[in-house]
Amino acid sequence: MSWLMTVDHKRIGLLYLSTGFVFFLVGGLEAMLIRMQLAQPNGTVLNPDLYDQIFTMHGTTMIFLAVMPLGVGFANYMIPLLIGARDVAFPKLNALSYWVFVLGGILMYSSFPLGGAPSDGWFSYAPLTERAFSPGSGIDFWILGILLLGLSTTIGSINFIVTIIQLRAPGMTFDRMPIFVWAFLVTSLIAVFALPSLTVAVLLLLLDRQLGTHFYNVGAGGNALLWQNLFWFFGHPEVYILILPAMGIVSEVVPVFSRKPLFGYRVVAYSSVAIGLLGFMVWAHHMFTTGLPAASLAVFSADSFAIGVPTGVKIFSWLATMWRGKLRLSTPLLFAIGFIALFVIGGITGIMLAVIPIDWQVEDSYFVVGHLHYVLFGGSVFGLTAGLYYWFPKMTGRILSEALGKLHFGLMFIGMNLVFMPFIVLGLLGMPRRIYTYSPDQGWSSLNLLASVGAFLIAISFLVLLWNFIRTMRRPAQGLADPWDAFTLEWKTSSPPAPYNFKEIPTVGGRRPLWDEKHPEQADWRAGQ
């Protein structure tokens, strides 16, 4: 089949998007199982062993097999179009990175029937993951899966970096590049520099487990915190890999649906770079409770505060873009606004976690689980969903139903607050993470029940999306090239674009080539932009 052999970035993009979406649904199912088990005290839906596998695979799947591939999917499809190119720099490598990702995902999931999935959490702390404490093969599957996924991401990131640097259309300086492209350039650079730390961490663990070395084996002279340092040196930049593409999408959607240019384009572009750089200097804020000296902790706290500044700047820039615009509250903009509203909560709780004495209380509690879901679900998932509704017409020639889209938004927005705001409170009530059950006397029962109801709402919202998708795809394509009256180059092509993307490579004279063409009297160059 041509899809198996394709090297066309648009097809590979669709492969990433559909595979990522399938894994997202699987991760969602795992979340539903967790919420069913925790809906009541002393739950019996899952025994502890199965629960541990499910929560581990939920995190691993959502991060490595869903959110990252969905971002790469949009990047793959859209970046060559956004920069006026015919494809990425290395189309065959592009295909390779997709198939290695699929192999990694299949390998990880094959652990379930082959002795059990990994069950020590998505960040797999040593020495719990050593053979002595995790004798099954689940962790080995996890390690091998991570190695394959890291390979896929590294290849893909190099591909995008070269593509963005080398293949921009004539006239498209970095200063005129769409923010989504900036965001993905930084994302790819982060990946290339962060992944080696993870690769080393898991290789050392594999050596410990399989060849009897003692890197993390404390009794034999190894060091337990070595794992945490190596892992989080990757793990923190990783969360910026997860959020930057979504922020990039928001930076594309908000201007189009506000009918205004992005406010402070340069500042937004540089803030992405700042976030990328600062993101490498905060990793030990995941280790505030490990007994590190106060001076070290203070440095990481300071930098964690610092990273809030460029993030806040983006939020104000988006709001200023919408200010005195003419907002079309269509589904893409609703999800972008949802991103902003929810990410603010994630950000505020994140700043709270940077306050070390507060972190000493709420670290490893449901407060953190609430925080991370506000940024990853309220942030990444809402942002990616905005991208889906925005770019769906370009990829399929059809527009998803507005009514169903609004229903999806409403259910998902309410649902997610019903799950994750209770999590914040549960953390303050002392509920630790990763517990398979709790007692009625601990006072956590009603909030857990509420959260489980909210999860159910989120699940329904995705059924609405699926129904919207099926219904829309059954209709004949209208093939509108520019249904949103948008600004950037992808809307110049047909919907879907021809295999060669552009009949002629365009020459670009500004940040919003289509706006300038369609509105010459208000063109950006008239304002000296």
Partner: protein, 329 residues
């Protein structure tokens, strides 16, 4: 149309408040450290609330005021930036985080351990999969599940692990400190109120992480001395036939492989020291009431699947064991 936060929030708040009472509620502090941390949280929450209301309010305001009116196809004024505004909304956040950083350093200093003095009580906490051991080296006491401390005194706590990483968290007294194999982490506790405060392991440590709980029992000086004396006492010899039978199983038989009873040949170290087991309120990692000892011995795997206690005793053996254990107060 977006459901306004201002309509949904009060409803949510009501629902949240109704579920809001827990023995591990860190905003109901009873210890010196927890008190400072809770104070800091309220301040940061207030600052966060102002930002939250401001930004979310702005979003709502813009979404309503600036939505395109029907039939209005004109494009708005194109605005590209505003240097002063950009400086303002960079400088103000920098100012806010500087304040937060100052508060952070201040409270870190306030909750730093007081300088050691000779009379200080030192407790060693040993984290095991999946129970807490509490040793008082200066008093010759080894116990589990309950950490007794005298009120009003600062108690030094040394945290060591017997296996994997755990985390020692009793929210109403202090923030948590991880228990890491290969190093001894130090923290301290002080409560100026007597009472029993619940704690729980806060670092995923395997199958029964959820049930690795403990209590800190803060007692008056006199009650604490009474407890110490009782813990230092030797266990009685078994008297009745049933107790003798139980003694055989516990001290000479299967239990001795994992448990210690002071002054006997039972020297196992995998499970808790049982010398004064019936002086405690809980068993099995602090998660099962002592009154359920019989059910626990009968089917430990059924109650806490995957824990290290794998035994199969007949009903008669269980009766005998209970009779002997009952003397270990």
């Amino acid at each position: 149309m977006k459901l306004g936060f201002k309509t949904v929030a009060p409803v949510l708040l009501g629902l949240l408040v109704s579920g809001c009472s827990s023995p591990q509620d860190l905003l109901a502090p009873h210890g010196y450290i927890a008190g400072k941390e809770a104070w800091l949280f309220w301040i940061v929450l207030a600052m966060g609330a102002v930002v939250f209301l401001g930004v979310e309010g702005l979003i709502l305001f813009i979404a309503l005021r600036d939505r395109r009116r029907k039939g209005d196809l004109a494009e708005p004024k194109q605005v590209y930036g505003n240097r002063s505004l950009e400086i303002l909304w960079t400088a103000i956040p920098i100012g806010l985080v500087l304040i937060l950083f100052g508060l952070t350093l201040g409270v870190m200093a306030a909750v730093a351990p007081p300088s050691p003095s000779a009379g200080d009580l030192t407790v060693q906490v040993v984290g095991h999969q999946w129970w807490w051991e509490f040793d008082y080296p200066s008093l010759g006491i080894v116990t589990a599940n309950e950490l007794h401390i005298p009120v009003g005194e600062s108690v030094r706590v040394q945290l060591v692990s017997a296996d994997v990483i755990h985390s020692f968290w009793v929210p109403q007294l202090a923030g948590k400190t991880d228990v890491i194999p290969g190093q001894t982490n130090l923290m301290w506790l002080q409560s100026n109120q007597t009472g029993t405060f619940d704690g729980q392991c806060a670092e995923f440590c395997g199958l029964q992480h959820a049930h690795m709980r403990f209590q800190v029992v803060v007692q008056s000086a006199q009650d604490f001395q009474t407890w110490v004396a009782a813990q230092q006492a030797s266990p009685p010899a078994p008297q009745t036939d049933l107790e003798q039978q139980g003694y055989q199983i516990v001290i000479k038989g299967v239990c001795s492989g994992c448990h210690t009873v002071n002054g006997t040949t039972a020297r196992g170290t995998i499970g808790p020291n049982l010398t004064h087991v019936f002086s405690r309120q809980t068993i099995a990692g602090g998660s099962i009431p002592i009154g359920q000892m019989s059910e626990w011995i009968e089917d430990p795997q059924g109650m806490l699947p995957g824990n290290d206690m794998v035994i199969h005793l007949s009903n008669d053996e269980i009766t005998a064991v209970l009779a002997y254990l009952d003397t270990l107060k």
